[in-house]
Symmetry: D2
Subunit: 492 residues, 4 copies
């Protein structure tokens, strides 16, 4: 086995210990507009929730060739500066925000996308949302053949596969490469003249097409079209590749067709509430989850309070269905965000209190329903429960807008090891006891499917979504993980 | 007239153009706990909404004397670092966050509080929330007598008055000084052994007393007691001075008593919704403002949407009173915050769109009630209205949780010149036309008084609150301003 | 006694442990040229050897008033940036570089000059080279009267004395203030329209007048006139004050006349070798010291090597007088300079080796004469001797271009406490033994006087120079020090 | 042709326009000592003159694998910090300082060495001093075969050639790769267990072996052995590869033997005067050049002055041979160094004056001989001549310690294009006229050979040195350059 890649220790460290699953990436690209990189910066800012650690932009201009800038930190702190943006000229540009890659734990700028490859027929840049489940095997094979990897990222395999392809154009080489790749990928790429978008055959991660003036846009979510005033055209379809230049959009189908399996957690948590997926408002779907939850697991109480901010739409729905008043029982400090500096011991131990405070006057003596989007390790839920009780609540009832998260995701989401997932080791009842709350209810998988519009629920032949984190039903075998000893459900 | 004070051009510049009144300061102090400065850091973090530009902490330790650190930027970015906090030892500490002083427009570290003065009997540090309305006259007089000012801040007058007082103890000198001062002040100060709190006779700005273990706390708001687990004891009363040391809290009344006039805008906008003022939950008061507003100015519509985040509690109240469903029609980008860097022209012009996006799928074809806390210049309201209409709303109705803001505040709030206030130059009808919305209604002054618990409304002899920004009724004459030509209402 | 002033712990720390006396300040001012601050930046760069820790510039422009910038670090790293210099407009500007003040050990920006004071008749800025020997007493008196000090610097006393003066113009107030001040001062100051220069009656520190185009320049040394292409006019005389405006230079004599006592160490070490003092080239004087030293203390040897860089001119003179070849036996690493960052333990322990390396091939087997400018603590001399012996030298002879430094300087030079001075506790013979060298000889005080042009040596009535660091003969009583217990020579 | 590689615009830019040839790199490695990276940091600090732009260190520790840190700026500003050095554990480490690569003009961290490659049998890091003259052709070939380049550096070819080698060990793969490479290379490399050193068959660049305790050191120059207290063992021979592990040093001869051609300019300028090359003191060689120059081109004059600092040893030699007194007529400001910030126009135009000042009192009325190491573009010489005349010199005679530089170097030195070299377009007489000096003489090529110990001069069959920059006699054809149109001398 090759040694771990050496890394720079940079100043940046994630001390934010949110007890959430985290989407790992957002991608955005635009062609046919002046100063395209400025549009990409705005698009990435709108997609910042998909990756807060770092961002990168590549642009191309016929005179100045390819240019690239990759930075740690928020888009708004880097890619709004005139001096930086002037180094990214041209009418064609792509960008990427990321939380963390499949690679090492210490963030290094080398791992920040877009990645660039110089091929015999010209350069190409690539930005990837998702995760390649056979990356380790591919990397080993490529190193044996003499490829030099520069990052710890699974995405780099695609560049090396393209470099070794026998095809003559970059789009053809990309098709060739992606046919060797397993897992989830929504890709935005560019050559000197073309913007390219691809989604894996299952369509696990989102990718949409928009139009702005005479130009075209590719984006992870529709909310990033809004910010630049672009019109939504359509979603890129699972298994589709689009190649866009000044004459328009060409569509290809490089892969063998399969029934699609879009990530249902994009509806629950990852996507922004003002985005539209599959023609449905994400906000409305989440509100509807609250409605379903109120139907499935009603409880007598005085207040419905969201765990801010992600529990808010479901709490509104729960309140509307149940008739129990909606209230902001927990206030989120707006001045948090990701902290890059090492706090003092004393301050670190304050934990959740720095971010959240209970509205004591409101809560005291009340029976409170707390609506949250999910329970991962359970550590945050526990602290919130304690805050609510400290404030004098009479009863605390948790209602969770997703089924128990019992399996890790291998398709581009940062999840703890299975043994760290509360639901992997406890039943719903054990969890209730562990959290010491008056009641704890998760929406059922069927209820969730109903909320996203599948009236008959999940088990109608092949499910329409990837729900592996709840069901353990992995639509693509996570082969690198199995090699490392991960036990599939069937094997249990 | 003395020349303007020279200033360093620092890198920091406020490019955030929020169309809001802004509280200028928050103060916090603690005595009798180990590593008091850490508590102050936490308290200031909870008070960050009262001043985002800069913060400072002074501590005292018998061995190491006074230590001080003042920084631009958020508390969480400066005062959580172990290396900095270790330079602030001791069991006695005070701190300050500020938005901007009465002084120059270019922020300089010299203007950041707490201020420190070395007197013949020892040093003292002082942190001030409010504004001294005769500061210019005092400054002139003090310079004539040979004082050297080091800042542009009105607060520095207090230090120089104390330096020249004939009294023998620091608390006595502070009394002496404050009797020369007009305007609004809630002060937290410290000597080598004492923590001191004072509120002006009108009690315009808040100040509360808490207890944590064996120690005592002074804070602008109760939410900052919660973050350190302190118990609320009572409010410092208007005109009261408390001097706290290890033997306990002594209370003094240095000023001639006057009927109190607490700032009513603290209820509407400045204070955090999880704070408690005068025994009332700020959140609940705001929700009640929404209830009153729905009673006063009902309208048929499909949705009640808050302008995030400050309009949220009133929107909830409006929805509950009117029965019209509450919905998050506008989504706020959580990754904004104050930007310290100069963005590109293109990005700057995107303005509000960077922060807010409309939930298009929700809004389309709907009659929408937008609930906001106030209208200042009207520029933001106008942009929001356009976003909502672009998204296809059928009707747009504005409901404002405060009366028209027609007069500037001179008591510690950053307000534009009178001619920039929309309500100073237009009637409600003209404003509706100017904003081009289907209806625009402000809560009445009486309605606002009812919401804060004055069942009979405002005009019951002397009003219980300072509402000068709505009424032009200034409880203390703003003499510096009058000298500069400001026209009082009586003079109109 | 008032408590020590609180301070910010800034990132800057002096880890440079050079075993040298260090001049504490350089001053520079210019009037009557466009963008005067740029000239000041260049002048301060040429005076950087007089103070490497921090620098400041104040300028005045009729439209924009006074502006100021003060920074830690080298002039070239701060005051050459277009963006900073644009904030310092106007045809009148003064500046200051400093090593460290009489105040605290932790550098704070508050202590960096020029200082600014706002008086009833307008503002003034002041930059001071020297040290006020009764500053503590003055400070105590001023605080008793109600002055608030903002720095730890002795110089601030002058501002407060001026603020309390009964005179009507700023120059008159400055005269008034300086008559209360004891010690050494060469001052460059400015009002809105005037450039002012003053030297104390003894003329301990240098100050020269130059002309550039239609403008006038004041500078600590002539080398800073050269850098801006200014012509040397004359030295400001001891006890003289010049007030310069567009109509020219007026000269005043505010002090009772006294025989002058210029610092002889300026010739030995402080001033730059390309400066001219009293009509004599500093380089030539130092070469002449080498000649005198060779006459006084000859020795048979193979090579004369300077301890770089300050020993170079005397070594050249020694070689020329003795006929022993001059050689660069010790090489100085050009990439040192002041290090602001905390090095690893291992690296810190390498000490002198990081800066100096012996030219082994040259030294091996040779009898080496090392010429250095002075011996302070002796720590560096010891390390250098060891390096030379390690490299295989047959004999090591030290020749020192100044008499034994046995007394601290209180007139603006950073010296260790008396007990740390090697020559305060050891005879020349004991020092030779302590350093374990084959011979050690210092130039005699008379020899030094001869080298600076006093053919008859020192003791010709009143000595023409301040040589207190060698003789203990302090021309002004260091009263603050005596109060703290310092033993004058007479008292021994 | 592949497109130019995209680059990050970093803040760093070289505004230093010294009119000098510049060595491009220094290399250093150590095995068998605790915290090896600290030793590498010290070694690189001593080699800083060989590359001031950036530096990098890789270390290996059995537990933590490979670690790497690469930074812009001086070694002392980055690689002395405890926090950074702690990230580089282990007993095996190599490092590199560089001026600029063969690649783009905008420095990017990607181009900073050491480079790391992950091969099937483990990782390796490589640091290279020199230049590969067939890098473009190799790069093209490797890209055709599917390699992805991550930098603009010629050195990266070596890594890719190694990745594709069929050999089984890393040292064997390195041999394999280097046999495809043309040009100059002194390489220090490391695997998990071995330190490797190689010199090209001509031995153009230096590389020496040393011993420290039980450990071994490889370094570009001996001065870097001194700083860590290591003993010089021997030079690595031209065409030799050494592989060092705990059992000792093994030596290999992978290349066909050729007569060696060491760079003669290392003696003239590149190496530090305290280094020893081929058993000769560099300082002594330079002094000897001055002696030869005085013999070849004597002139009557009053003073011999070096152009500081590189002309100093030759000036000393010239003075000693001619009997004309040596003097520091030009003073160098010690506070310069490379400036990374953009100065104001006014300051930029001061040019050389910021760095150098004439010792006016010394120069006035004198006939001055200026000794400099070389003339490249002639711009600096011209400015210096003007400064000297402005100061009132009666005559100015230039004596240059190298022959006319008429040809660019392609073996690891940054030289201007041929048409920018003054000596490429002018005869010695034309140059004298162009510089407008009283006389201008260069040492002859034979004189230079005599000074380095070749008593018979250059043309004794095959010359012992590479002197292509003077003679146009390139020992390895610069094939990439010829392809781009460079005219060899034979072709003229």
């Amino acid at each position: 086995m090759p040694p771990a890649h050496p890394f720079d220790f940079d100043a940046v460290r994630d001390t934010d210990d949110e007890d959430k699953l985290r989407e790992e990436c957002g991608v955005f690209g635009v062609i046919g507009v002046t100063d395209a990189a400025n549009f990409v910066a705005l698009g990435l800012h709108a997609l910042q929730h998909r990756g807060q650690e770092a961002g990168g932009i590549v642009s191309h201009d016929p005179d100045q060739g390819f240019n690239s800038a990759r930075r740690f930190g928020y888009v708004r702190d880097n890619f709004t500066r005139q001096s930086l943006m002037e180094t990214l000229p041209g009418a064609l540009s792509i960008g990427h925000v990321r939380y963390s890659t499949a690679g090492g734990k210490n963030p290094v700028i080398r791992d920040v996308q877009p990645f660039f490859g110089e091929f015999a027929m010209g350069g190409a840049a690539i930005a990837h949302n998702g995760n390649i489940t056979n990356a380790n095997a591919l990397r080993r094979e490529l190193i044996e053949r003499g490829s030099i990897f520069q990052s710890n990222s699974d995405t780099e395999c695609i560049i090396h596969l393209m470099a070794r392809s026998l095809q003559r154009t970059i789009p053809e080489r990309m098709e060739d490469a992606l046919r060797r790749v397993e897992g989830a990928f929504s890709i935005v790429a560019m050559t000197r003249t073309k913007l390219i978008g691809v989604r894996d055959p299952l369509g696990v991660r989102p990718l949409v097409l928009g139009q702005v003036g005479d130009g075209w846009v590719l984006s992870s979510e529709t909310c990033a079209l809004d910010i630049i005033g672009a019109q939504f055209v359509r979603e890129i379809e699972p298994g589709e590749m689009v190649v866009i230049n000044e004459s328009g959009v060409e569509s290809f189908r490089p892969f063998r067709p399969r029934p699609s399996r879009f990530c249902i957690f994009e509806h629950v948590y990852f996507s922004r509430p003002d985005s539209i997926i599959g023609g449905r408002s994400v906000y409305e779907t989440r509100r509807q989850i609250g409605v379903e939850l109120a139907k499935e697991s009603p409880v007598e109480a005085d207040l419905v309070c969201p765990v801010p901010d992600s529990g808010t739409p479901a709490a509104i729905g729960f309140s509307q269905e149940s008739g129990i008043p909606y209230a902001m029982g927990i206030i989120r400090n707006q001045y948090m965000g990701r902290t890059f500096i090492e706090p003092t011991e004393q301050i670190r131990n304050m934990g959740v209190r720095l971010k959240l405070n209970v509205n004591r006057a409101l809560i005291q003596g009340k029976r409170v329903i707390l609506v949250d989007d999910s329970v991962v390790r359970g550590t945050t839920s526990r602290k919130i429960k304690e805050m609510i009780l400290d404030a004098g609540a009479a009863e605390v009832h948790f209602r969770i807008a997703s089924p128990p998260t019992a399996w890790p995701c291998f398709y581009g989401v940062d999840t703890p090891n299975r043994e760290k997932l509360l639901a992997a080791t406890m039943s719903e009842d054990e969890m209730r006891e562990h959290l010491a709350v008056d009641s704890l209810k998760f929406i059922s998988l069927d209820g969730l499917y109903r909320a996203v519009g599948e009236a008959k629920g999940r088990d109608t032949g092949c499910p329409q979504y990837c729900d592996a984190c709840f069901s353990g039903d992995y639509p693509v075998e996570p082969s690198d993980q199995v090699e490392k000893g991960f036990q599939l459900k069937a094997a249990e």
